[in-house]
Symmetry: C2
Subunit: 496 residues, 2 copies
C-alpha cells in the first residue's frame, strides 16, 4: 500500500479544508473592502453577499461526512505534522458544530441589532437604552457558554475563553491576573510620581499624506513586504487579508501623528506573523495562527517591546525627520511613547495601565457568566474597579465606561484576556531572544532588527498551529507562560 | 389558493438565483480588487479562491433540480415581469448547461495558457509562437460553437454571437455591416481630406492627481453617484462592481490627458446603466443588463454622442480649466476629440474609423469558425483588409495587427460586433431623444443634461432584461435597429 492510499481519508479532509480556506479568502477580502473602500450604497448588497458566504462556510464546516471521516483519518498512518493538522481540523469542526444553528442565528441577529443601536447609544451616553439589549444578548451568551461547557467538560466561562485561547482556563488566568493585580496598581502610582517632574510635549500637526509616507517607511524598516500586502485607512485599525496579501489599516490624526504611527507598528506585528506562517501549510488549519493571545503577542512585541524602546525610536527618528521635519529627537520620542497616565479608555491606554482595563473586564465577564454580576449593576462595578485599579472616576460616564468597547455589544465575551496574555508572552519572548542574542535594543540600534524577526519567524511564525500554545511557548522560551517577565519588563523600562 | 402558493416553484427559483447573485457579487469584488488593489504576492491564493468560486457558481447554475422546476414554474400563474424573469433564468440555465464541463475546463485551461504566453509573444511580435496556441484554442472554440449551434438550431457563429447578443444572427449582421462597408471607407477619405488643413494641437502634460480630480468632477457632471461607486486606476480601464457599488477604472497618461478623460466618460456610461438597472429586480436575472451591445450603447452614448459633442465640451471646459489651467478652449477640445485618423489599433481608434476594425474582425471570425479562413492565413487576411478598409499597412506587424486584442487569445469569439452595434444603438437613441426633447447638444449646453439621462433611465436602464433587445429598442425609438442613424450622425458631425 502506498502512503497516499493509506491516508486517503486525511487527504480528502485536506481538500475539504482547502476549499473552506478559499471561501474564507473571499470573506477576508469582503471585510477589508467594506472597511476601507466600499461606498455607503454598497452596504445592502454586500451585507447579503457576506451573509450568504458565511452560511456557505458554515455548511462546509458542518458537512455531514466530516464526523465519520475525521474518525477514519485518525486511524491512518499520519506523520507528526499531519496529526497536528487533523487535531486542528477536529477543533474547527467541533467549534462549528457545537452550537445549534438556531442559537447561532438568534445570537447573530441580536448582536447585529444591539451593535447597531449601541453606535448611537454610546454617543448619547444612553445606558438605559443599551441595558435591555445587553441583557438579552448576555442571556444568549450564557446559553452558548452552557452548551459549549457541557460538550467540553469545562466551566461556562472557560468554554468562552477556549474560543480564542484553546486550553486556557479561568483558574490559570486567576493566578496570572491575581499576581498582576497585586503589584500593578502600586507600580502605576510609583511611575506616575517619577514622571510628574517631566514636562509635557507639544506635538506639531502633520498632513495625512506625510504621515502615511512615514508609516510605509517604518513598515519597511520592520520588514513588511509590500509585494505581499497593503496599507490603507479605516476608522478602526485592523490587520486583515490573507497570508501573501495582508491588508493592514490605520487612521491618521493630523494633530497627533504618534498614535497613528504606533498603530501601524502594532498592526505590522500582526502582519509579519501572518506573512510568516508556514507557506507549505497555507489553506490548512494547522497553517493558521496559534491563538489570539499569540497573535496579540506579535503585535505587542512590535509595538511595546520594540516600538517604544529607545533603540527603535533612535533608528526611526531620521525617517520621522525626513517626512515630518526634525521636530522631535529620540529622547523626546521615547518620553512621548513611555508616558504613563491612567485614563478611561482601554484602546488609548499606555503599556503600564492597559492590563488594569483587562483585569476589570475579566472580572466583569466572569461575574456576568456565573450570574454573580447583573448587567444592571455593571456601571457600579465599573466605577468601583476603575477607582481601585486606576484611581479614576467613571461615575455616570457610561460612554467612556462600560459602554466603550464593541466586544460586549456584539456578544463577544472571553476575548479581553488575550490582550494581556499577549503582552506577557511578548515580554517572555523578548527575554528568550536576549538570552541567546543579547539586548534587543542594542540589536535594533546596530541595524540588526532582522535578527530579532528571524528568531520570531523560526520560533513562532513558522510553527503555525503545529504545537499547542504551551508547547510553542515552552519550545521557544524553555518554559510555559511566566508573567514574571512582563513585570520585569515594566520595572526595567519605567522605574528609574 | 393564494398567489404565493400558486407560484411557489417560481419563488424557489428567485431564491436560488438571488443566492447565485450573492456569489457573483463576490466574484465582481475579487476581479476589481485584482485589477486595482492586489499586490503581486496575492495572485496565487486569489487565483485559487476565484477558481473555487467560479466552480461553485457553475454548480449552482447547473443544479440538478433546476430543469424540472424551471418547467413547473412555466405552468404557474406569473405576471408579465415574472414571465420575463423566468425566460432569463431559462436562458442562464441553458447557457451554463449547454457546454459539457470537460470542454469548459479544457478551454479555460488552454485559454489561460494561451493568454499568458500571448502577453509576452505580443510584445515580441512573435506570431510563430502565438500561431499554434491560437490554432489549438480555435479548435476548441469551434467545438463549443458546434455544440451550442446544435442545441439551439443555429449556425455555429450565430451560436457564439448569442452568448453576448441574444437573438442576433450572422445574416442580420451581414446586412447591417454590409451597408456600413459600402459607405464608411469613402466617408473616412472625405473627412480626412477636409481635416487635412487643420493644424495639429500640442497637449501639455498634467499630473495624474490633477487628471483624477478632473475626472471625478466630470463623472459628477455626468450624474455619477459616488455614494454608489468609486473611481480607481487599472492598466486596462473597465467598469465592474455591482449595482449600488459600481467600480470604474481608468489609466492616466501625464503627456496626454485627453484619452484618460474620455475613458472615464466612456466607463461612466457603463456605470450609469448599471446604477440605473431596476432596483426592485436586483439579484434576479431580469434585473441585469440587456446585452453587451446595449451596454456598449450606453458607454458610447456618453463618449460619442455626448462626450465628443460641442455642447458637452463647452460645459466641461471650465472644469478642465479649473484642474489643468486654461490651456484649451472648447473649440480646441472639439477639434481634438473629433480628429479622424486611420490607425493600426482598435482601442485607440476614433469614432469614424472604429467600425472598420470591427468589420475586419467580424469577417475573420466568421471565416475562422466556418473553416474558410485558417489561423495560418490570418496575418495575410489582416493586411489585405486593413489596406482596403483603412488604407494602412500592417504587413509583418503582428503585435499591432492580428495579435493586438486579448479576445482571441482567451478564446472569446463573437464579441466584437457588440461594439459597433452599440455605436449604432447610441445614435438611434440620440435621434429618438431629439425627436421628443430637441437637440442633445443644446440640452447639454443649457445645463439640462439630466433630461437626456432621464430619457435613458426611463427607456433603457430601468427595463433591465424585461424586454428582448428588439422590443426594448422598438419601444424606446419606434423601430428596431436601424443603422441609418449612425450614418446620419457621422455625416452631421464630420462632414462640413
Amino acid at each position: 500500500m502506498t502512503q497516499s492510499s493509506t491516508t486517503h481519508h486525511y487527504q480528502k479532509l485536506t481538500q475539504h479544508f482547502q476549499k473552506i480556506s478559499h471561501f474564507e479568502h473571499l470573506s477576508a477580502l469582503g471585510d477589508w473592502d467594506q472597511a476601507t473602500m466600499m461606498p455607503s450604497g454598497g452596504s445592502e448588497a454586500r451585507g447579503a453577499a457576506m451573509a450568504e458566504l458565511a452560511g456557505h462556510i458554515h455548511e462546509l464546516k458542518t458537512a455531514d461526512f466530516l464526523e465519520e471521516i475525521l474518525g477514519l483519518a485518525a486511524d491512518e498512518q499520519l506523520n507528526t505534522e499531519q496529526v497536528a493538522n487533523l487535531r486542528e481540523m477536529q477543533y474547527q469542526y467541533f467549534q462549528a458544530n457545537i452550537v445549534p444553528v438556531s442559537l447561532v442565528q438568534s445570537k447573530t441577529q441580536l448582536a447585529y441589532q444591539c451593535e447597531h443601536a449601541w453606535r448611537v447609544q454610546r454617543k448619547n451616553n444612553d445606558w438605559q437604552g443599551f441595558k435591555p439589549n445587553l441583557e438579552a444578548l448576555i442571556t444568549l451568551v450564557k446559553e452558548e457558554a452552557q452548551i459549549r461547557a457541557q460538550a467540553q467538560g469545562l466551566s461556562p466561562y472557560d468554554a468562552l475563553l477556549n474560543k480564542f485561547e484553546p486550553g486556557m482556563t479561568t483558574a490559570r488566568l486567576e493566578t496570572v491576573f491575581g499576581s498582576l493585580k497585586s503589584w500593578l496598581p502600586g507600580l502605576i502610582t510609583q511611575v506616575q510620581a517619577e514622571q510628574s517632574s517631566e514636562k509635557p510635549f507639544s506635538i506639531p500637526s502633520f498632513s495625512t499624506a506625510n504621515q502615511e509616507a512615514l508609516g510605509r517607511d517604518v513598515m519597511g524598516f520592520l520588514g513588511f513586504d509590500f509585494n505581499q500586502g497593503r496599507l490603507d485607512i479605516s476608522s478602526h485599525p485592523f490587520c486583515g487579508g490573507v497570508p501573501g496579501d495582508i491588508r493592514l489599516t490605520t487612521r491618521y490624526d493630523e494633530a497627533d501623528f504618534t498614535q497613528g504611527l504606533m498603530g501601524i507598528v502594532h498592526e505590522t506585528g500582526h502582519a509579519r506573523y501572518e506573512q510568516g506562517l508556514p507557506k507549505q501549510w497555507r489553506g490548512q488549519p494547522v497553517g493558521g495562527h496559534r491563538s489570539m493571545a499569540i497573535h496579540e503577542s506579535q503585535s505587542l512585541f512590535c509595538e511595546m517591546q520594540l516600538g517604544r524602546g529607545n533603540g527603535f525610536l533612535t533608528q526611526i527618528q531620521p525617517l520621522i525627520a525626513e517626512h515630518l521635519g526634525s521636530v522631535l529627537n529620540a529622547d523626546a520620542l521615547t518620553n512621548i511613547y513611555t508616558r504613563v497616565k491612567p485614563g478611561l479608555i482601554r484602546v488609548d491606554a499606555d503599556e503600564v495601565t492597559y492590563p488594569c482595563h483587562v483585569l476589570l473586564r475579566f472580572e466583569a465577564e466572569k461575574g456576568l457568566i456565573d450570574g454573580s454580576l447583573q448587567v444592571a449593576n455593571l456601571p457600579e462595578f465599573w466605577a468601583e474597579n476603575m477607582k481601585s485599579l486606576l484611581g479614576v472616576d467613571t461615575t455616570g460616564d457610561y460612554q467612556n465606561g462600560c459602554m466603550q468597547d464593541i466586544h460586549w455589544a456584539v456578544g463577544e465575551l472571553g476575548y479581553f484576556p488575550s490582550y494581556t496574555l499577549g503582552a506577557m508572552y511578548a515580554a517572555q519572548f523578548r527575554y528568550a531572544i536576549e538570552k541567546s542574542l543579547g539586548s534587543v535594543d542594542t540589536l535594533v540600534a546596530q541595524g540588526k532588527i532582522h535578527a530579532v524577526f528571524d528568531w520570531l519567524e523560526h520560533n513562532i511564525w513558522s510553527k503555525g498551529c503545529l504545537l499547542s500554545t504551551d508547547d510553542l511557548v515552552k519550545q521557544a522560551t524553555g518554559e510555559t507562560l511566566n508573567p514574571e517577565y512582563f513585570k520585569r519588563h515594566l520595572e526595567q523600562r519605567y522605574l528609574k
